[in-house]
Protein backbone atom coordinates (compact mmCIF):
# COMPACT_ATOMS: atom_id res chain seq x y z
CA UNK A 1 0.00 0.00 0.00
CA UNK A 2 1.45 3.33 -0.98
CA UNK A 3 1.26 6.09 1.58
CA UNK A 4 0.34 9.60 0.52
CA UNK A 5 2.88 12.28 1.22
CA UNK A 6 2.05 15.24 3.36
CA UNK A 7 1.87 18.27 1.10
CA UNK A 8 2.58 21.95 1.65
CA UNK A 9 -1.19 22.44 1.63
CA UNK A 10 -1.50 19.94 4.48
CA UNK A 11 1.16 21.78 6.43
CA UNK A 12 -0.87 24.97 6.04
CA UNK A 13 -3.84 23.13 7.52
CA UNK A 14 -1.67 21.98 10.40
CA UNK A 15 -0.63 25.58 10.95
CA UNK A 16 -4.30 26.60 11.08
CA UNK A 17 -4.97 23.96 13.68
CA UNK A 18 -2.05 25.14 15.79
CA UNK A 19 -3.26 28.72 15.56
CA UNK A 20 -6.60 27.77 17.16
CA UNK A 21 -5.04 27.39 20.58
CA UNK A 22 -3.50 29.87 23.00
CA UNK A 23 -0.51 27.51 23.19
CA UNK A 24 0.24 25.83 19.88
CA UNK A 25 1.21 22.48 21.31
CA UNK A 26 -2.44 21.96 22.30
CA UNK A 27 -3.08 21.22 18.64
CA UNK A 28 -0.94 18.11 18.68
CA UNK A 29 -3.80 15.61 18.97
CA UNK A 30 -5.84 17.30 16.22
CA UNK A 31 -2.69 17.49 14.09
CA UNK A 32 -1.99 13.81 14.55
CA UNK A 33 -5.61 13.06 13.65
CA UNK A 34 -5.09 15.14 10.54
CA UNK A 35 -1.85 13.52 9.38
CA UNK A 36 -3.44 10.14 10.04
CA UNK A 37 -6.40 11.11 7.85
CA UNK A 38 -3.96 11.87 5.05
CA UNK A 39 -1.72 8.84 5.43
CA UNK A 40 -4.03 6.27 7.00
CA UNK A 41 -1.59 6.07 9.89
CA UNK A 42 0.72 8.17 12.00
CA UNK A 43 3.93 7.53 10.10
CA UNK A 44 7.44 8.62 11.09
CA UNK A 45 7.06 11.30 8.41
CA UNK A 46 3.82 12.48 10.00
CA UNK A 47 5.55 12.66 13.34
CA UNK A 48 8.38 14.69 11.82
CA UNK A 49 5.96 17.14 10.25
CA UNK A 50 4.04 17.68 13.48
CA UNK A 51 7.31 18.09 15.37
CA UNK A 52 8.48 20.69 12.89
CA UNK A 53 5.27 22.70 12.99
CA UNK A 54 5.20 22.74 16.79
CA UNK A 55 8.95 23.03 17.33
CA UNK A 56 9.10 19.79 19.28
CA UNK A 57 11.48 16.88 18.94
CA UNK A 58 10.13 13.88 17.02
CA UNK A 59 10.49 11.89 20.25
CA UNK A 60 8.13 14.27 22.01
CA UNK A 61 5.57 13.77 19.28
CA UNK A 62 6.10 10.01 19.18
CA UNK A 63 5.53 9.90 22.94
CA UNK A 64 2.09 11.40 22.39
CA UNK A 65 1.24 9.50 19.22
CA UNK A 66 1.92 6.14 20.85
CA UNK A 67 -0.11 6.92 23.97
CA UNK A 68 -3.50 7.15 22.29
CA UNK A 69 -5.27 4.12 20.90
CA UNK A 70 -6.80 5.88 17.91
CA UNK A 71 -3.42 6.65 16.40
CA UNK A 72 -2.19 3.73 14.33
CA UNK A 73 1.38 2.90 13.51
CA UNK A 74 0.36 0.72 10.60
CA UNK A 75 -1.56 1.71 7.47
CA UNK A 76 -5.27 1.29 8.01
CA UNK A 77 -7.66 0.10 5.33
CA UNK A 78 -10.33 2.30 3.82
CA UNK A 79 -12.73 1.39 6.60
CA UNK A 80 -11.91 0.95 10.23
CA UNK A 81 -14.22 -1.59 11.86
CA UNK A 82 -14.41 -1.58 15.63
CA UNK A 83 -16.19 -4.10 17.79
CA UNK A 84 -16.78 -3.23 21.40
CA UNK A 85 -15.77 -6.19 23.53
CA UNK A 86 -15.85 -4.45 26.85
CA UNK A 87 -17.98 -6.33 29.39
CA UNK A 88 -21.47 -5.18 28.57
CA UNK A 89 -21.23 -5.25 24.79
CA UNK A 90 -19.22 -8.48 24.89
CA UNK A 91 -21.84 -10.27 26.96
CA UNK A 92 -24.75 -8.90 24.99
CA UNK A 93 -23.22 -10.21 21.78
CA UNK A 94 -20.00 -8.32 21.04
CA UNK A 95 -17.84 -11.42 21.48
CA UNK A 96 -20.02 -13.24 18.99
CA UNK A 97 -19.82 -10.39 16.50
CA UNK A 98 -16.08 -10.21 16.95
CA UNK A 99 -15.70 -13.88 16.09
CA UNK A 100 -17.98 -13.44 13.16
CA UNK A 101 -16.02 -10.48 11.80
CA UNK A 102 -12.65 -12.16 12.17
CA UNK A 103 -14.11 -15.06 10.19
CA UNK A 104 -15.69 -12.95 7.47
CA UNK A 105 -12.67 -10.70 7.03
CA UNK A 106 -10.02 -13.28 7.80
CA UNK A 107 -8.04 -10.89 9.97
CA UNK A 108 -7.50 -10.28 13.67
CA UNK A 109 -7.05 -7.32 15.98
CA UNK A 110 -5.26 -4.34 14.42
CA UNK A 111 -4.94 -6.13 11.10
CA UNK A 112 -5.90 -5.03 7.61
CA UNK A 113 -7.41 -7.09 4.83
CA UNK A 114 -5.21 -7.77 1.84
CA UNK A 115 -7.49 -5.70 -0.41
CA UNK A 116 -6.88 -2.71 1.85
CA UNK A 117 -10.57 -2.31 2.52
CA UNK A 118 -10.89 -3.13 6.20
CA UNK A 119 -8.94 -2.79 9.39
CA UNK A 120 -10.35 -4.59 12.39
CA UNK A 121 -9.99 -3.60 16.01
CA UNK A 122 -11.34 -4.81 19.35
CA UNK A 123 -12.38 -1.57 20.93
CA UNK A 124 -13.18 -0.50 24.47
CA UNK A 125 -16.42 0.96 25.79
CA UNK A 126 -17.84 3.49 23.32
CA UNK A 127 -20.34 5.12 25.68
CA UNK A 128 -23.16 3.45 23.85
CA UNK A 129 -24.14 0.80 26.39
CA UNK A 130 -27.84 1.45 25.96
CA UNK A 131 -27.53 0.34 22.34
CA UNK A 132 -25.22 -2.62 22.92
CA UNK A 133 -23.70 -4.49 21.22
CA UNK A 134 -21.99 -1.78 19.23
CA UNK A 135 -19.95 -2.02 16.08
CA UNK A 136 -18.29 1.07 14.64
CA UNK A 137 -17.39 1.82 11.06
CA UNK A 138 -14.85 4.59 10.83
CA UNK A 139 -15.97 5.31 14.39
CA UNK A 140 -19.53 5.97 13.22
CA UNK A 141 -21.81 3.84 15.37
CA UNK A 142 -23.82 0.87 14.21
CA UNK A 143 -26.07 0.38 17.23
CA UNK A 144 -27.70 -2.77 18.59
CA UNK A 145 -25.98 -5.02 16.12
CA UNK A 146 -26.60 -8.68 15.44
CA UNK A 147 -24.94 -11.27 13.22
CA UNK A 148 -27.27 -10.70 10.32
CA UNK A 149 -26.80 -6.96 10.39
CA UNK A 150 -23.05 -7.40 10.57
CA UNK A 151 -23.05 -9.68 7.53
CA UNK A 152 -25.11 -7.18 5.56
CA UNK A 153 -22.92 -4.32 6.71
CA UNK A 154 -19.76 -5.91 5.41
CA UNK A 155 -21.39 -6.91 2.14
CA UNK A 156 -22.61 -3.38 1.53
CA UNK A 157 -19.26 -1.88 2.37
CA UNK A 158 -17.54 -4.30 0.01
CA UNK A 159 -19.92 -3.37 -2.77
CA UNK A 160 -19.63 0.30 -2.02
CA UNK A 161 -23.37 0.47 -1.35
CA UNK A 162 -24.59 3.26 0.91
CA UNK A 163 -24.49 2.52 4.60
CA UNK A 164 -26.10 4.86 7.10
CA UNK A 165 -24.71 4.90 10.61
CA UNK A 166 -27.44 4.69 13.23
CA UNK A 167 -26.07 7.75 15.02
CA UNK A 168 -23.69 9.29 12.53
CA UNK A 169 -23.42 10.02 8.84
CA UNK A 170 -23.44 7.93 5.73
CA UNK A 171 -20.26 5.88 5.74
CA UNK A 172 -17.45 7.19 3.54
CA UNK A 173 -13.97 6.38 4.83
CA UNK A 174 -11.82 6.51 7.95
CA UNK A 175 -9.96 9.40 6.33
CA UNK A 176 -13.11 11.55 6.40
CA UNK A 177 -13.75 10.78 10.06
CA UNK A 178 -10.16 11.78 10.79
CA UNK A 179 -10.81 15.32 9.56
CA UNK A 180 -13.67 15.64 12.05
CA UNK A 181 -11.40 14.46 14.88
CA UNK A 182 -8.92 17.10 13.76
CA UNK A 183 -11.61 19.68 14.42
CA UNK A 184 -12.48 20.37 10.81
CA UNK A 185 -16.23 20.71 10.54
CA UNK A 186 -17.57 18.76 7.57
CA UNK A 187 -21.00 20.30 8.02
CA UNK A 188 -22.69 16.90 8.16
CA UNK A 189 -24.11 17.37 11.64
CA UNK A 190 -27.67 17.06 10.39
CA UNK A 191 -26.97 13.90 8.42
CA UNK A 192 -27.17 11.92 11.64
CA UNK A 193 -30.55 10.40 12.39
CA UNK A 194 -32.71 11.90 15.09
CA UNK A 195 -32.75 10.66 18.65
CA UNK A 196 -33.24 6.93 18.71
CA UNK A 197 -35.41 4.68 20.88
CA UNK A 198 -32.83 4.42 23.61
CA UNK A 199 -32.38 8.17 23.82
CA UNK A 200 -36.12 8.76 23.88
CA UNK A 201 -36.95 5.84 26.19
CA UNK A 202 -37.32 7.97 29.32
CA UNK A 203 -39.11 10.84 27.63
CA UNK A 204 -41.66 8.45 26.15
CA UNK A 205 -42.37 6.83 29.51
CA UNK A 206 -42.65 10.26 31.10
CA UNK A 207 -45.15 11.34 28.46
CA UNK A 208 -47.07 8.08 28.78
CA UNK A 209 -47.23 8.38 32.51
CA UNK A 210 -47.66 12.16 32.42
CA UNK A 211 -44.59 12.81 34.44
CA UNK A 212 -42.57 16.00 34.23
CA UNK A 213 -40.11 18.13 36.06
CA UNK A 214 -41.69 20.69 38.40
CA UNK A 215 -42.69 23.91 36.70
CA UNK A 216 -40.17 26.65 37.29
CA UNK A 217 -40.34 30.38 36.87
CA UNK A 218 -38.50 30.18 33.60
CA UNK A 219 -40.24 27.12 32.15
CA UNK A 220 -41.73 27.63 28.72
Amino acid sequence: MSIKTITEEDIKTLETLAAKYPVRRSALLPMLHYVQSIQGMVSPAGIQVCARVLDLTPAEVAAVATFYTMFKRFPMGKHHIGVCTNTLCALLGGDELWKQLTNILGIGHDETTADGLFTLERIECQAACTVAPVVTVNWEFMDSMNPKAVRELIEKLKMGAPVQSTRGVQITSIADSGKVFAGINDGKYAESPLADDSMLAGLRVAKERKMSAPTGKGTK
Partner: protein, 433 residues
Protein backbone atom coordinates in the same frame (compact mmCIF):
# COMPACT_ATOMS: atom_id res chain seq x y z
CA UNK B 1 -40.48 9.87 42.67
CA UNK B 2 -40.91 10.48 39.02
CA UNK B 3 -39.19 11.03 35.74
CA UNK B 4 -38.20 14.68 35.38
CA UNK B 5 -37.28 15.43 31.78
CA UNK B 6 -35.37 18.71 31.70
CA UNK B 7 -32.31 18.08 29.59
CA UNK B 8 -34.20 15.43 27.61
CA UNK B 9 -37.52 17.29 27.53
CA UNK B 10 -37.35 18.14 23.85
CA UNK B 11 -35.25 15.35 22.42
CA UNK B 12 -38.23 14.26 20.37
CA UNK B 13 -38.19 17.58 18.56
CA UNK B 14 -37.22 16.86 14.97
CA UNK B 15 -34.32 19.31 15.27
CA UNK B 16 -33.56 19.24 18.96
CA UNK B 17 -29.89 19.88 18.23
CA UNK B 18 -30.48 23.10 16.31
CA UNK B 19 -30.30 26.48 17.97
CA UNK B 20 -33.78 27.32 16.68
CA UNK B 21 -35.29 24.41 18.54
CA UNK B 22 -33.27 25.16 21.64
CA UNK B 23 -34.27 28.81 21.67
CA UNK B 24 -37.91 27.91 21.08
CA UNK B 25 -37.82 26.15 24.45
CA UNK B 26 -36.25 29.01 26.34
CA UNK B 27 -32.67 28.41 25.35
CA UNK B 28 -30.03 31.07 26.01
CA UNK B 29 -32.38 33.09 28.22
CA UNK B 30 -30.43 31.83 31.23
CA UNK B 31 -27.25 33.19 29.66
CA UNK B 32 -28.83 36.56 29.08
CA UNK B 33 -30.03 36.58 32.69
CA UNK B 34 -26.61 35.56 33.94
CA UNK B 35 -24.89 38.34 32.07
CA UNK B 36 -27.07 40.80 33.93
CA UNK B 37 -25.84 39.42 37.23
CA UNK B 38 -22.35 39.62 38.65
CA UNK B 39 -20.23 36.50 38.22
CA UNK B 40 -20.38 35.97 41.97
CA UNK B 41 -24.16 36.07 41.92
CA UNK B 42 -24.14 33.32 39.29
CA UNK B 43 -21.78 31.26 41.42
CA UNK B 44 -24.08 31.94 44.38
CA UNK B 45 -27.11 30.47 42.61
CA UNK B 46 -25.22 27.39 41.51
CA UNK B 47 -23.87 27.00 45.03
CA UNK B 48 -27.36 27.36 46.50
CA UNK B 49 -28.75 24.81 44.09
CA UNK B 50 -26.43 22.17 45.52
CA UNK B 51 -25.58 20.94 42.01
CA UNK B 52 -22.94 18.24 42.26
CA UNK B 53 -20.59 17.05 39.55
CA UNK B 54 -22.16 14.48 37.23
CA UNK B 55 -18.86 12.98 36.11
CA UNK B 56 -18.48 10.59 39.01
CA UNK B 57 -16.91 12.33 41.97
CA UNK B 58 -19.95 14.44 42.86
CA UNK B 59 -18.04 17.53 43.94
CA UNK B 60 -20.28 20.59 44.51
CA UNK B 61 -20.06 22.63 41.31
CA UNK B 62 -20.58 26.09 42.81
CA UNK B 63 -17.84 25.47 45.31
CA UNK B 64 -15.47 24.35 42.56
CA UNK B 65 -16.17 27.57 40.69
CA UNK B 66 -15.55 29.64 43.78
CA UNK B 67 -12.06 28.15 44.23
CA UNK B 68 -10.80 30.01 41.18
CA UNK B 69 -8.80 33.00 42.42
CA UNK B 70 -10.34 36.28 41.36
CA UNK B 71 -8.72 39.41 39.98
CA UNK B 72 -5.42 37.59 39.75
CA UNK B 73 -4.71 39.06 36.36
CA UNK B 74 -4.26 35.62 34.86
CA UNK B 75 -6.21 34.02 32.06
CA UNK B 76 -8.84 31.59 33.38
CA UNK B 77 -10.06 28.55 31.55
CA UNK B 78 -13.17 26.42 31.59
CA UNK B 79 -12.62 22.92 30.33
CA UNK B 80 -15.48 20.57 29.65
CA UNK B 81 -14.83 16.96 30.42
CA UNK B 82 -16.78 15.13 27.74
CA UNK B 83 -14.34 12.23 27.63
CA UNK B 84 -17.09 9.81 28.51
CA UNK B 85 -15.33 6.45 28.49
CA UNK B 86 -16.21 4.70 31.72
CA UNK B 87 -17.65 1.26 30.97
CA UNK B 88 -21.38 1.64 31.43
CA UNK B 89 -21.42 5.41 31.13
CA UNK B 90 -23.38 6.61 28.13
CA UNK B 91 -25.18 9.80 28.96
CA UNK B 92 -22.93 12.69 27.91
CA UNK B 93 -22.63 11.48 24.32
CA UNK B 94 -26.44 11.25 23.78
CA UNK B 95 -26.79 14.61 25.52
CA UNK B 96 -24.30 16.22 23.12
CA UNK B 97 -26.02 14.55 20.18
CA UNK B 98 -29.55 15.63 21.02
CA UNK B 99 -29.11 18.79 23.06
CA UNK B 100 -25.65 20.29 22.47
CA UNK B 101 -26.87 23.83 23.06
CA UNK B 102 -27.64 23.13 26.72
CA UNK B 103 -23.95 22.36 27.06
CA UNK B 104 -22.86 25.41 25.10
CA UNK B 105 -25.12 27.67 27.15
CA UNK B 106 -23.83 26.07 30.35
CA UNK B 107 -20.28 26.72 29.19
CA UNK B 108 -21.03 30.37 28.52
CA UNK B 109 -22.60 30.81 31.96
CA UNK B 110 -19.86 28.90 33.71
CA UNK B 111 -17.12 30.81 31.91
CA UNK B 112 -18.76 34.09 32.83
CA UNK B 113 -18.95 32.98 36.45
CA UNK B 114 -15.31 31.99 36.73
CA UNK B 115 -14.11 34.91 34.58
CA UNK B 116 -12.83 32.72 31.78
CA UNK B 117 -12.61 34.02 28.24
CA UNK B 118 -11.58 30.72 26.79
CA UNK B 119 -13.28 27.37 27.08
CA UNK B 120 -12.46 23.98 25.64
CA UNK B 121 -14.78 21.07 25.10
CA UNK B 122 -12.70 17.91 25.34
CA UNK B 123 -14.78 15.20 23.72
CA UNK B 124 -13.47 11.68 23.48
CA UNK B 125 -12.26 11.06 19.96
CA UNK B 126 -14.29 8.04 18.96
CA UNK B 127 -17.64 9.82 18.63
CA UNK B 128 -17.66 11.82 15.39
CA UNK B 129 -21.42 12.23 15.53
CA UNK B 130 -21.28 14.01 18.89
CA UNK B 131 -18.26 16.07 17.83
CA UNK B 132 -20.13 17.29 14.74
CA UNK B 133 -23.20 18.29 16.70
CA UNK B 134 -21.18 20.18 19.29
CA UNK B 135 -19.02 21.89 16.66
CA UNK B 136 -22.18 22.96 14.92
CA UNK B 137 -23.79 24.16 18.13
CA UNK B 138 -20.71 26.23 18.92
CA UNK B 139 -20.77 27.75 15.43
CA UNK B 140 -24.48 28.55 15.72
CA UNK B 141 -23.93 30.10 19.13
CA UNK B 142 -21.19 32.31 17.72
CA UNK B 143 -23.45 33.31 14.86
CA UNK B 144 -26.23 34.27 17.26
CA UNK B 145 -23.91 36.25 19.51
CA UNK B 146 -23.94 33.82 22.42
CA UNK B 147 -20.24 33.22 22.04
CA UNK B 148 -17.43 35.39 20.78
CA UNK B 149 -16.83 39.07 21.41
CA UNK B 150 -19.08 41.21 23.59
CA UNK B 151 -21.72 38.54 24.13
CA UNK B 152 -25.22 40.04 24.04
CA UNK B 153 -23.70 43.47 24.52
CA UNK B 154 -22.40 42.56 27.95
CA UNK B 155 -18.77 43.20 27.24
CA UNK B 156 -18.04 39.58 28.08
CA UNK B 157 -15.91 37.70 25.54
CA UNK B 158 -15.70 33.97 25.22
CA UNK B 159 -14.02 31.69 22.72
CA UNK B 160 -14.87 28.02 22.67
CA UNK B 161 -12.77 25.33 21.02
CA UNK B 162 -14.08 21.83 20.39
CA UNK B 163 -11.25 19.38 20.90
CA UNK B 164 -11.30 15.66 20.19
CA UNK B 165 -9.33 13.17 22.24
CA UNK B 166 -7.73 10.17 20.64
CA UNK B 167 -8.64 7.12 22.67
CA UNK B 168 -7.49 7.10 26.26
CA UNK B 169 -9.87 6.50 29.16
CA UNK B 170 -7.40 8.09 31.58
CA UNK B 171 -8.11 11.47 30.01
CA UNK B 172 -11.36 11.47 31.96
CA UNK B 173 -9.17 12.14 34.99
CA UNK B 174 -9.15 15.91 35.04
CA UNK B 175 -5.42 16.53 35.27
CA UNK B 176 -4.67 13.88 32.64
CA UNK B 177 -7.27 15.61 30.48
CA UNK B 178 -5.43 18.91 30.91
CA UNK B 179 -2.12 17.35 29.92
CA UNK B 180 -3.82 15.78 26.92
CA UNK B 181 -5.36 19.12 26.00
CA UNK B 182 -1.90 20.63 26.16
CA UNK B 183 -0.78 18.12 23.55
CA UNK B 184 0.92 15.70 25.90
CA UNK B 185 0.54 12.14 27.03
CA UNK B 186 -2.63 11.99 29.09
CA UNK B 187 -1.00 11.11 32.36
CA UNK B 188 -2.34 12.58 35.58
CA UNK B 189 -0.49 15.43 37.24
CA UNK B 190 0.83 15.71 40.71
CA UNK B 191 -1.54 17.67 42.96
CA UNK B 192 -1.15 20.25 44.38
CA UNK B 193 -1.25 22.51 42.54
CA UNK B 194 -4.92 21.89 41.84
CA UNK B 195 -6.40 22.99 38.52
CA UNK B 196 -8.25 25.86 40.22
CA UNK B 197 -4.84 27.38 40.91
CA UNK B 198 -2.68 26.01 38.10
CA UNK B 199 -4.58 24.01 35.51
CA UNK B 200 -4.50 24.47 31.77
CA UNK B 201 -1.32 26.34 30.75
CA UNK B 202 -0.62 26.63 34.49
CA UNK B 203 -3.55 29.04 34.80
CA UNK B 204 -6.63 28.80 37.02
CA UNK B 205 -8.93 26.27 35.43
CA UNK B 206 -12.26 24.64 36.16
CA UNK B 207 -12.92 21.22 34.71
CA UNK B 208 -16.60 20.30 34.66
CA UNK B 209 -18.41 17.28 33.29
CA UNK B 210 -20.63 17.94 30.26
CA UNK B 211 -23.87 16.95 31.97
CA UNK B 212 -23.01 19.15 34.94
CA UNK B 213 -22.64 22.24 32.76
CA UNK B 214 -25.69 21.38 30.70
CA UNK B 215 -27.69 21.36 33.94
CA UNK B 216 -26.68 24.92 34.80
CA UNK B 217 -28.95 26.92 32.42
CA UNK B 218 -32.10 25.39 33.89
CA UNK B 219 -30.90 26.25 37.39
CA UNK B 220 -30.25 29.87 36.44
CA UNK B 221 -33.59 30.03 34.67
CA UNK B 222 -35.75 28.45 37.37
CA UNK B 223 -33.76 29.12 40.48
CA UNK B 224 -31.95 27.08 43.07
CA UNK B 225 -35.14 26.24 44.95
CA UNK B 226 -36.72 24.76 41.87
CA UNK B 227 -33.67 22.56 41.42
CA UNK B 228 -33.68 21.54 45.04
CA UNK B 229 -37.36 20.63 44.84
CA UNK B 230 -36.12 17.57 43.00
CA UNK B 231 -33.88 14.95 44.52
CA UNK B 232 -32.74 14.59 48.09
CA UNK B 233 -31.19 17.11 50.43
CA UNK B 234 -27.68 15.95 49.71
CA UNK B 235 -28.33 15.02 46.11
CA UNK B 236 -30.55 17.75 44.74
CA UNK B 237 -31.86 17.95 41.22
CA UNK B 238 -32.33 15.76 38.21
CA UNK B 239 -29.91 13.41 36.52
CA UNK B 240 -29.59 11.47 33.31
CA UNK B 241 -29.72 7.80 34.25
CA UNK B 242 -28.61 5.57 31.41
CA UNK B 243 -29.95 2.10 32.11
CA UNK B 244 -28.29 -0.63 30.10
CA UNK B 245 -27.91 -4.38 30.02
CA UNK B 246 -30.48 -7.14 30.11
CA UNK B 247 -33.43 -4.80 30.48
CA UNK B 248 -36.40 -4.55 28.14
CA UNK B 249 -35.92 -0.90 27.22
CA UNK B 250 -32.33 0.20 27.74
CA UNK B 251 -32.03 3.94 27.45
CA UNK B 252 -31.80 7.37 29.00
CA UNK B 253 -34.13 8.03 31.92
CA UNK B 254 -33.97 11.50 33.37
CA UNK B 255 -35.20 11.42 36.92
CA UNK B 256 -34.71 13.06 40.27
CA UNK B 257 -31.69 11.95 42.20
CA UNK B 258 -32.77 9.54 44.88
CA UNK B 259 -35.16 7.70 42.61
CA UNK B 260 -34.95 4.04 43.66
CA UNK B 261 -33.30 1.69 41.22
CA UNK B 262 -36.36 -0.49 41.25
CA UNK B 263 -38.36 2.44 39.91
CA UNK B 264 -35.83 3.13 37.16
CA UNK B 265 -35.86 -0.54 36.27
CA UNK B 266 -39.62 -0.37 36.04
CA UNK B 267 -39.40 2.58 33.62
CA UNK B 268 -36.97 0.49 31.59
CA UNK B 269 -39.59 -2.23 31.36
CA UNK B 270 -37.97 -4.56 33.85
CA UNK B 271 -35.49 -7.27 33.01
CA UNK B 272 -35.77 -8.90 29.60
CA UNK B 273 -38.30 -11.67 29.16
CA UNK B 274 -37.68 -14.74 31.28
CA UNK B 275 -34.68 -13.31 33.03
CA UNK B 276 -33.76 -12.53 36.58
CA UNK B 277 -31.46 -9.79 37.78
CA UNK B 278 -28.17 -11.25 38.99
CA UNK B 279 -26.08 -8.17 39.77
CA UNK B 280 -25.96 -4.52 38.82
CA UNK B 281 -23.56 -1.67 38.88
CA UNK B 282 -24.97 1.77 39.68
CA UNK B 283 -22.47 4.05 38.00
CA UNK B 284 -19.80 2.56 35.80
CA UNK B 285 -17.41 -0.33 36.23
CA UNK B 286 -15.35 1.66 38.72
CA UNK B 287 -17.95 1.40 41.45
CA UNK B 288 -18.67 -1.78 43.38
CA UNK B 289 -21.48 -4.03 42.18
CA UNK B 290 -24.78 -4.64 43.95
CA UNK B 291 -27.29 -7.49 43.87
CA UNK B 292 -31.09 -7.77 43.62
CA UNK B 293 -31.37 -7.25 47.35
CA UNK B 294 -30.22 -3.65 46.83
CA UNK B 295 -32.72 -2.92 44.07
CA UNK B 296 -34.80 -0.49 46.13
CA UNK B 297 -31.85 1.67 46.98
CA UNK B 298 -32.37 5.37 46.17
CA UNK B 299 -30.00 6.47 43.43
CA UNK B 300 -28.38 9.29 45.37
CA UNK B 301 -24.79 10.08 46.23
CA UNK B 302 -25.38 9.42 49.92
CA UNK B 303 -27.53 6.29 49.78
CA UNK B 304 -25.23 4.47 47.39
CA UNK B 305 -22.23 5.49 49.39
CA UNK B 306 -23.90 4.09 52.51
CA UNK B 307 -24.40 0.82 50.65
CA UNK B 308 -20.65 0.60 50.03
CA UNK B 309 -20.76 1.70 46.43
CA UNK B 310 -21.09 5.01 44.58
CA UNK B 311 -23.43 6.86 42.26
CA UNK B 312 -20.49 7.31 39.88
CA UNK B 313 -21.78 8.36 36.50
CA UNK B 314 -25.33 7.28 37.39
CA UNK B 315 -25.52 4.83 34.54
CA UNK B 316 -26.70 1.48 35.92
CA UNK B 317 -25.71 -1.69 34.08
CA UNK B 318 -28.09 -4.56 34.78
CA UNK B 319 -26.96 -8.15 34.29
CA UNK B 320 -29.21 -11.19 34.43
CA UNK B 321 -28.76 -14.76 35.59
CA UNK B 322 -27.12 -15.85 32.32
CA UNK B 323 -24.10 -13.69 33.03
CA UNK B 324 -20.73 -15.02 34.12
CA UNK B 325 -19.41 -12.77 36.85
CA UNK B 326 -15.93 -14.15 36.26
CA UNK B 327 -16.04 -13.12 32.62
CA UNK B 328 -17.52 -9.73 33.43
CA UNK B 329 -14.83 -8.96 35.98
CA UNK B 330 -12.06 -10.27 33.72
CA UNK B 331 -13.21 -8.03 30.89
CA UNK B 332 -13.28 -5.00 33.13
CA UNK B 333 -9.77 -5.74 34.32
CA UNK B 334 -8.62 -6.16 30.74
CA UNK B 335 -10.05 -2.71 30.18
CA UNK B 336 -8.18 -1.20 33.12
CA UNK B 337 -4.97 -2.88 32.03
CA UNK B 338 -5.44 -1.49 28.54
CA UNK B 339 -6.23 1.97 29.85
CA UNK B 340 -3.73 2.25 32.70
CA UNK B 341 -1.55 5.16 31.72
CA UNK B 342 1.62 3.48 32.96
CA UNK B 343 2.80 6.31 35.15
CA UNK B 344 2.62 4.63 38.55
CA UNK B 345 3.79 1.20 39.50
CA UNK B 346 0.77 -0.23 41.34
CA UNK B 347 -1.73 0.44 38.58
CA UNK B 348 0.59 -0.42 35.69
CA UNK B 349 1.93 -3.66 37.13
CA UNK B 350 -1.08 -4.56 39.27
CA UNK B 351 -3.57 -4.49 36.41
CA UNK B 352 -1.16 -6.55 34.32
CA UNK B 353 -0.92 -9.15 37.05
CA UNK B 354 -4.59 -9.39 38.03
CA UNK B 355 -5.72 -9.58 34.44
CA UNK B 356 -3.33 -12.40 33.72
CA UNK B 357 -4.58 -14.41 36.68
CA UNK B 358 -8.24 -13.65 36.00
CA UNK B 359 -7.87 -14.84 32.43
CA UNK B 360 -6.88 -18.20 33.86
CA UNK B 361 -10.09 -18.26 35.87
CA UNK B 362 -12.14 -17.32 32.83
CA UNK B 363 -10.74 -20.41 31.18
CA UNK B 364 -11.40 -22.60 34.22
CA UNK B 365 -7.73 -22.79 35.06
CA UNK B 366 -7.46 -20.66 38.15
CA UNK B 367 -6.09 -21.98 41.41
CA UNK B 368 -7.97 -21.39 44.61
CA UNK B 369 -5.00 -19.78 46.37
CA UNK B 370 -4.75 -17.32 43.50
CA UNK B 371 -8.00 -15.75 44.65
CA UNK B 372 -6.12 -14.61 47.75
CA UNK B 373 -3.32 -13.29 45.58
CA UNK B 374 -5.70 -11.26 43.41
CA UNK B 375 -7.32 -9.91 46.52
CA UNK B 376 -3.94 -8.96 47.96
CA UNK B 377 -2.90 -7.35 44.71
CA UNK B 378 -6.10 -5.30 44.65
CA UNK B 379 -5.21 -4.18 48.15
CA UNK B 380 -1.75 -3.22 46.98
CA UNK B 381 -3.22 -1.06 44.22
CA UNK B 382 -6.08 0.59 46.07
CA UNK B 383 -5.04 3.74 47.86
CA UNK B 384 -1.47 3.50 46.67
CA UNK B 385 -1.81 4.44 43.03
CA UNK B 386 -1.25 7.86 41.60
CA UNK B 387 -4.84 8.48 40.63
CA UNK B 388 -8.33 7.03 40.88
CA UNK B 389 -7.87 4.70 37.90
CA UNK B 390 -5.90 2.37 40.13
CA UNK B 391 -8.58 2.46 42.79
CA UNK B 392 -11.17 1.75 40.11
CA UNK B 393 -9.21 -1.23 38.82
CA UNK B 394 -9.07 -2.62 42.32
CA UNK B 395 -12.86 -2.42 42.66
CA UNK B 396 -14.57 -5.06 40.49
CA UNK B 397 -12.87 -8.15 41.90
CA UNK B 398 -13.37 -7.63 45.64
CA UNK B 399 -16.93 -6.45 44.87
CA UNK B 400 -17.67 -9.62 42.93
CA UNK B 401 -16.05 -11.88 45.51
CA UNK B 402 -18.33 -10.43 48.14
CA UNK B 403 -21.35 -11.95 46.44
CA UNK B 404 -20.07 -14.54 44.01
CA UNK B 405 -17.07 -16.26 45.60
CA UNK B 406 -18.54 -19.64 44.66
CA UNK B 407 -18.48 -18.76 41.01
CA UNK B 408 -14.75 -17.98 41.19
CA UNK B 409 -14.14 -21.28 42.96
CA UNK B 410 -16.06 -23.01 40.21
CA UNK B 411 -13.76 -21.26 37.75
CA UNK B 412 -10.85 -23.31 39.05
CA UNK B 413 -12.50 -26.22 37.20
CA UNK B 414 -14.97 -24.93 34.67
CA UNK B 415 -14.56 -22.19 32.12
CA UNK B 416 -16.88 -19.21 32.16
CA UNK B 417 -18.33 -20.19 28.79
CA UNK B 418 -19.09 -23.70 29.99
CA UNK B 419 -20.79 -22.46 33.14
CA UNK B 420 -22.60 -19.64 31.39
CA UNK B 421 -23.09 -20.33 27.69
CA UNK B 422 -22.58 -17.05 25.81
CA UNK B 423 -25.48 -17.77 23.52
CA UNK B 424 -27.83 -17.37 26.46
CA UNK B 425 -26.29 -14.08 27.51
CA UNK B 426 -26.44 -12.38 24.12
CA UNK B 427 -29.49 -10.34 23.34
CA UNK B 428 -30.00 -11.51 19.80
CA UNK B 429 -32.46 -14.28 19.19
CA UNK B 430 -30.15 -16.71 17.52
CA UNK B 431 -26.44 -16.69 17.99
CA UNK B 432 -24.15 -17.79 15.23
CA UNK B 433 -23.62 -16.71 11.70
Amino acid sequence: MALTPVLTAHWDDPNSFEITSYKKHGGYVALKNSLKMTPDEVIGIVKDSGLRGRGGAGFPTGMKWSFVPQNDGKAHYLVVNADESEPGACKDIPLMLANPHALVEGIAIGSYAIRANHAFIYIRGEVPHAIRRVMNAVEQAYADGFLGKNIQGSGFNLDVVVHAGAGAYICGEETALLDSLEGRRGQPRLKPPFPAVAGLYASPTVVNNAETLASVPSIILNGADWFKSMGTEKSPGFKLFAVSGHVKRPGIYEAALGTPMSELLDYAGGMRKGSKLKFWIPGGSSVPMLTPEHIDIPMSYEDLSAAGTMLGTGTPMMFDHTTSVVKAVTRWLEFYKHESCGKCTPCREGTYWITGVLEKFEHGKGKEEELTIINDVCGQIAGRSFCALGDAAATPFPGAMKYFADEFLQATKTSADASFPPSATTIFEKAGV
